[in-house]
């Protein structure tokens, strides 16, 4: 069994056809680019969940991911679908800059944070400017709001605000992102975890790490990298040999693990076990998730594959081995 990131890339790309089926890809349709099939196709809900639009980044990354058997690489149709998803995201934004997830006029912090980060990155990857005004409004809304009980959401917001700030060369946003980062780091426990409603949770901690390590890489922030490594140490202690985690005593009982943070940190002690677990079908992977959470996790898997592939081009890590 060949590891070294191949499993993550394969699983993510195998999930992509399912995710594309969630998007209205019909050119000229009034809901073109909407990735919430319950809304645009079944008509069983009265508003679209903006979190589905994070699929834009998964599609854009697939377009940019040069790997064997990736039929989406440099594909013009796929590029168009990613941009359609971005445009639909713009169209469903609330006037104050926020987005809804569960009910109309919700103004969801997590949805605004995560979808803004994804759309900003999609626009970076595809060199698109369609969403810049909306991105700035969303980032400013995130600056005015906080959800301090939930660290993964704050990490996502810090990353989103930074991503938009960098893209628009806006120092106010970069400063606001740094403030969010400082507030988050101040909450890290002595054991290394960041709080999720008062306690530790492995799944959410790994989402938090995905955003924090991205931010640390972007800003060459050594303190943030060190904090991320402390969090990774905590995850490592909870991980079994088969790649699953002991979640007894966790605050939220999530069962999954987002791997990209460990790839950026070079934590092969964790990734080797987890990837083997994915390859052996022992741990939860994107295809086991429901429609709502399939795309964000597949996105993280593809990101992991891309990070590991980049690392292997610079070195020959012992992670790439036959097991």
């Amino acid at each position: 069994m060949q590891l070294g990131g191949d499993t993550y890339g394969r699983v993510a790309l195998e999930t992509l056809p399912r995710i594309l089926g969630l998007e209205d890809r019909q050119a000229g349709s009034t809901t073109e680019g909407c990735c919430d099939r319950n809304y645009w196709h079944y008509g069983i809900i009265d508003f679209p969940n903006a979190r589905y639009q994070e699929a834009s980044l998964l599609i854009a990354q697939a377009v940019n991911h040069d790997a064997p058997d990736n039929s989406f690489f440099q594909n013009e149709s796929a590029r168009r679908w990613a941009l359609a998803a971005v445009r639909y995201w713009v169209s469903i934004q609330r006037r104050d800059g926020s987005f809804d997830e569960v009910y109309p006029f919700e103004r969801s912090y997590v949805t605004t944070a995560f979808s803004t980060w994804a759309v900003a990155r999609t626009c970076d990857l595809l060199d698109a400017k369609d969403a810049d005004e909306s991105l700035e409004r969303a980032a400013r809304w995130l600056c005015r709001n906080e959800n301090a009980d939930v660290s993964n959401q704050v990490a996502g917001a810090a990353a989103a605000v930074y991503g938009v700030g960098k893209r628009l060369q806006n120092d106010d946003l970069l400063y606001a992102s740094a403030e969010k980062r400082d507030r988050l780091l101040a909450t890290q426990s002595a054991q290394g975890w960041f709080p999720e409603y008062g306690g530790w949770d492995i799944g959410y901690l790994t989402i938090c790490l995905s955003y924090l390590t991205w931010l640390a890489t972007e800003t060459a922030d050594e303190d943030l990298t060190a904090a991320s490594n402390r969090a990774a140490d905590f995850v490592e202690q909870k991980m079994r040999e088969d790649g699953s985690c002991d979640i007894t005593g966790s605050s939220r009982n999530t069962q999954y693990l987002y791997p990209s943070g460990f790839a950026r940190l070079g934590r092969m002690d964790i990734l080797t076990r987890h990837e083997r677990g994915v390859a052996n079908g022992r741990v939860l992977n994107p295809s086991w998730m429901d429609d709502r959470f399939c795309a964000p996790m597949a996105l993280d898997y593809l990101t992991t594959a891309m990070e590991l592939s980049r690392d292997q081009q610079h070195a020959s890590p012992d992670h790439a081995q036959a097991v």
């Binding site: 089926g21 069983i44 009265d46």
Partner: protein
């Protein structure tokens, strides 16, 4: 046809009042089938349609 909040509220009010009565519920369902499927020669509603196929990648 996408849904809207007023339409959804109206539908639920109907479902929970008159729609409780069996023959009305069955009649309403027949009406929906006629409006969304039978009446239309094109763009008929098919729940299990419009998924991704590999041919889609080659369309312009």
């Amino acid at each position: 046809m996408t849904n809207s909040t007023p339409r959804l509220i109206t539908l639920r009010l109907f479902n929970l009042t008159l729609g409780r009565i069996g023959w009305i519920a069955i009649g309403f369902r027949r009406l929906l089938v006629w409006a969304l499927i039978k009446r239309r020669s094109d763009s008929r509603y098919v729940a299990t349609s419009r998924f991704f196929t590999w041919q889609d990648l080659n369309e312009r």
